[in-house]
Amino acid sequence: MTTTPARRPRQLSGRPRFYTSYAQQLRMFNTRPKRVSVGVLMALAVLVPFYVNDEVLQLLAVGFVASIGAIGLNIVTGYAGQISLGHAFFLAIGAYTAAALSGDPDERTIGFGITNLLVWLPAAGLVAALFGVLVAPLATRLRGLYLAIVTLGLVFLGEHIFKEWSSLTGGPGVGRPAAVPELFGYRFDEGGELLTRDQQLYLLMLVLLAIFAVLAFNLVRSKVGRAFSAVRDRDIAAEIMGVSLRKYKTLAFAVSSFYAGCAGALLYTVAGFFDPTSFNLLMSVQYIAMVLIGGAGTISGSIMGAMFITLVPRLTRELPAYVPFIAAEPTGVPNVFQVETVLYGLLIIGFLIFEPRGLYGIWVRLRNYWKSWPFSY
């Protein structure tokens, strides 16, 4: 008499956990520590709004949105290797598309009154993606520094247009209301019975970030993500493997701008108001900093970098209480705002020299250290 073999090999206790199928290895969280740690992190993130004050919640919500934008930049710069300094431009396109779609038609700025998030969010992404596709042909002609300079031009172009086009943007110093986060009649930006306004927005952004991050992760582990990395590492060899440079560079810009557009649309819903002068070179540099500090070519690194860069200004604001010679007002020298700018620079330089793989690299080193602890080899 024979017993039918078990469909899946049984895990023996005390034995290392081997993969027994390719499907198992290709899973998103393919080890138990990954599943546990991501589960714990998500549980914590969901619990945070009930223990933290509204000011910090707003900051975290903005950090989640910035993470979406950073993932976008990481796809085009970290994965596909096309340096883009024009990220602020794509964020602006998304922000104004969403704001115009959901704006009040009776206001002084352009508005169509379509407040449903499911309409204006994808629309903002798609319009930005369209601009990304228009820019992409430049990337097939130019490389490295030259591409960086051309994309830098986009930021200045955008800055000028948004300053002048005051029927759309409200003009500098005045601004316009941001997109209205409404879903089937439910307003996330108005406190409900159960949750406050900021708790709702925090949870909304958390869910959106989770969705965008999972989609991006799927993309980069697929054929498309591999082709991006191939274009980054050796473009000629990539082409000889059958990877069309034009197609994949265009795709990288389209996906990246889509993410930027969505992030731009959401970025100011927390504050409720925004000014056309925000989309400047400094914003592009901040996103570059997020990618470099978080870790180029990683999705989780983008999130770490974005949260880090968003939280740093809040932390430096606490400095005057501990370091007496730093002034809290912008009139003092040195003041917290100067310290903040210097800190960005120092962080980028420090990471490039000591840990080019960014926060993600530090995490990998920590993990590897504890994997073999207490033996160093």
Partner: protein, 263 residues
Amino acid sequence: MNGPVPGEPILEVDDVHLYFAGVHAINGVSFEVGPSELFAIIGPNGAGKTSIFNVLSGVYAPGKGRVRFNGTDLLGLRPHDIAALGLARTFQNVELFANLTVLDNLMLGRHQHIRYGAPAAFAWFGRARREEIANRATVEDIVDFLELEQWRGYPVGLLPFGVQKRVELGRALAMEPKLLLLDEPVAGMNLEETEDMARFVLDIREELDIPMILVEHDMGMVMDLADRVLVMDFGSPITTGTPAEVQSHPGVIRAYLGQEQAS
């Protein structure tokens, strides 16, 4: 002197000329490669061997001439279109994707055989996952064939040179080529690694029956493995023939050993 090629040739190169400004890099080269032939191209440095490969794979556009591969005219096609026709190559200086693992490099060789686009990739479950698993199995056969098991998960940038060369061969094989171009597969290798590589080349012939063009400076390897040899010097073809014919050809001896001053 052109030996008979049994069957329809897979590649016909006819009177190709390539110019870089004033330099005549390839000067009227013609040859054919049979359906299961191992054809070698030799010549001193700067003879134009790698330039011929670059013309075949679409990196350079020749000024004059005709290249037919498996019935299709190659000239004017982009490198990725030529790849889709089934032409694969390795490079003299390893051109792997240094930050990717051995497996990912081999999977990139499968690029044109993996059939799904960006929408399926975003969704992952369904088509993308199915195709990834199926192609992973194919790639594992190549890992097996080239004995790369122990390096599978390593970023290729960290591997020793000899292994990188083998990964590059694997990446080309993953494309399921109809013709394989090997650009100095044993350059910079020690005797043992050279013997290993020669063994793999023979295995590819015997087990996979893929015709190959081999550019190589290691004369021992060329003379032992090649069916026919094309000798070049300063961009011009000197002769084509079996290894034995080529070795005794006076023009070849002149190209390699030089000529005594006429006195």
